[in-house]
Amino acid sequence: MQCDRARPLLPQLVDGALGPLRRWLVTRHLARCAACAAQLEELHTMRAALRNDLTYHRAPPALAARIGAMLPREDAPTPSRARWRLPAMALGGAGMAGALAGVALTLLVAGGDASNNAVARAVVDGAIRSRMADHLTDVPTSDQHTVKPWLSARLDFSPVVKELKDQGFPLVGGRLDYVDGHRAAAIVYHHDRHIINLFAWASPGLADSQPHAESRQGFNIVTWRADGITYYAVSDVEADQLAKFARLMAAGG
């Protein structure tokens, strides 16, 4: 590759937009061509300056509050119920990662706080995020014998996965999640048109505990611990229904 072909590719090289072959060809050219290497250096210098030295204007603290106060006064169209309950799983794809990354950061920050409040907030956020960011399930199947091994193979623990269809809680699938600093399984159930996210992560050495209910941000939460695994069931179903679900899940067998 010569300068005339390599030069226009330098920005794409810096931007990570070159395929492997062209990247290799350009890199090989750069090793022999001081002029092009110098231009690459310029691009890097400019990028570093824009990233590190250019003022990043953070939003004034009052702005978030002002926006929050402003929103409900708007006449919003009634959202489609079905869309919330069953987000189109086919959409999103690559773009989703970015959206998740943004919220994941929030979760990580929350994870620094060891209090139960932070955990509860994290699981609720995880539950909301799961239905908003096209990421309800990685393994969409109602077959517990598919979900359980799929999760077990990807985690260092094996959460309980039950089929509770006859009790009114059909299994929808499972996914991997990250909650409050834990690699977690999220097992997804339906109840009527509601979704129940059951988060589970390993907590070795901690004693078993009975289901404990709370509510947060309009969501009901029931948490318990069994066999070194912490469970959080999160849903907007009625509290008594979620309690019933938790009893069924936590029951032996």
Binding site: R7, P8, Q39, A49, L63, A64, M70, L71, A76
Partner: protein
Amino acid sequence: MPAPDRKRRFELLALPHLDAAFNLARWLAGNPADAEDVVQEAYLRAYRYFDAWQGGNFRVWLLTIVRNSFFTWARENRSSRLVFQPDAPAGEAADADATAWGAPPRDPEALLLDRIDSQTLSRLMQRLPAEYREVLLLREVEDLAYKDIAAVIGTPIGTVMSRLARARSALRKLWFDAAAAESPRAV
């Protein structure tokens, strides 16, 4: 779905990106007061059209609205300052990718772009047309891929690449001029 629920969901998704939204608006508008207006308007619009969001990258979706809110606001409030047409006329632009980065440096061993301080850099950025500023911000600060930048500014990817090349070239020229003005021996 009751309004508080919808609002809560919106906030959960949108508020983490408030800094990104404000930074973009601030760099486009040039001052904090206008930036706040633009961001508020953008968040209102985003909330109104929340149901139109089809999943995918929420930050990209939101920044698109911020960006469009800015240009709408700018058209209504100070149209005269935005007559600049970023995509140069035919003949000059066609081969921008090949030429925009300029002639080979005279002395490849020399450090080509001296470090400049944050204030100078901000001043140079502010002198660029908004259309150049936004692609530089989206690429270098927000770290968006070409296809996401294309979504935000509503152009094909090819336009993103050529505009980015021109933006870098323009900033580079200002940068050299600033360095030359500061210390005549540098160039």
